[in-house]
Symmetry: C2
Subunit: 184 residues, 2 copies
DNA sequence: GGAGGTAGTGAGTGTACGGTCACTCATATG
DNA sequence: CATATGAGTGACCGTACACTCACTACCTCC
């Protein structure tokens, strides 16, 4: 927090950023550390000096991902035109939809769910989901079922993107993405 | 359809069943064909005689998965106490929750989303989602936004299982799983 | 200028896995 | 019996990848 970052710690942060991009493209098992290293303009060996192993790197990326999501929700809530519970929830939803237009943070969460049989990954997911849910509830003041719906539609959003519903011209496709904010 | 199955085709079906179990446990990339073969009491080489490759086997498993889901929804709808749109949707929701108590069909869908960068997998997902959505809409007669909500809460269900919300004793966890039918 | 620590790397090792191939065994048919 | 066909397998190959280690380049402070 108050501590000045050493060069290695700065490096770690850039590597985490690269890891988010790389892992989001091909998932936990599908992404070799070498790809992350390449993306960070660093040797593969050095990645292992900065992180104890692939698992820890993935978890670090996932944690950063949730941090970014929370920041976006916070900003969205602050910019809500109506500060009613539903108004705030809607604003957070829009902010989330806007944030994940680049797909990186979204896909990383999807891949993390798929890798949730790794205990550390599952725990990171739990922590992230806890923070998001608790923040959405307390910041909006909405009742439980509204918050539950908020999370559920977030997941629907993930489905829409992974399946590529957006570029299907069909009734069922329109039905699913109705009201989900477009990446204009 | 009317054709009598040859032994090889029977074999293919049992292998698909094994594939569902194996892939659901460790995902597309995390599951070696050898594990599927072992589960089916068959040599690895023979799996490659029955299916052109890993990708095709995974897709076959995914397609079977959606078939089972549709059957469950159909049965659930038929057993609905009230044949109103909302009543039928609720019954289908309960049937789905009951079906995926064993986690196999659920996890397979999650892993498929993570592997959706493989075109064949993405297309299989599209077909499956299309059939499920269209069936839910036409069989229940509910309006679009209700069907959308139905799918969204299905995804929430996936999230709850993958992150293991059920065995967390905390407010946010209860909030998320409220009203989702338990595997009693 | 040299001693010691920190950033960073090249070249490897062991292993797991997708896919292939040459083969065996059982059955059926004439 | 001879032969053909399809079920089923063991042994193998090439490659990709997580992780290691011995090493160099640089920086800083005396």
């Amino acid at each position: 927090m108050g501590k000045v970052l050493s060069t290695a710690e700065v490096r770690r942060e850039t590597v985490v950023a690269s890891a988010i991009r790389a892992f989001s493209r091909s998932g936990y098992l599908g992404t070799p550390i070498a790809k992350v290293a390449e993306e960070a303009r660093i040797s593969t060996a050095y990645v292992f000096k900065l992180f104890p192993g692939k698992e820890a790197l993935f978890v670090a990326a996932l944690e950063r991902c949730f941090e970014l999501v929370l920041e976006a929700l916070e900003a969205g809530a602050a910019g809500a035109t109506e500060q009613t519970p539903e108004g705030v929830l809607d604003a957070m939803g829009d902010a989330y939809a806007h944030l994940i237009a680049d797909r990186d943070l979204l896909m990383l969460q999807v891949h993390a769910q798929s890798a949730s049989d790794v205990p550390e990954v599952r725990q990171a997911l739990q922590r992230g989901l806890a923070r998001v849910t608790e923040f959405a509830a307390s910041r909006s003041g909405a009742d439980d079922s509204s918050v539950q719906r908020f999370i559920a539609y977030g997941q629907l959003c993930h489905l829409i993107v992974t399946v590529g519903v957006e570029n299907i011209d069909s009734n069922w496709a329109r039905l699913l993405s109705e009201g989900i904010t477009h990446p204009a």
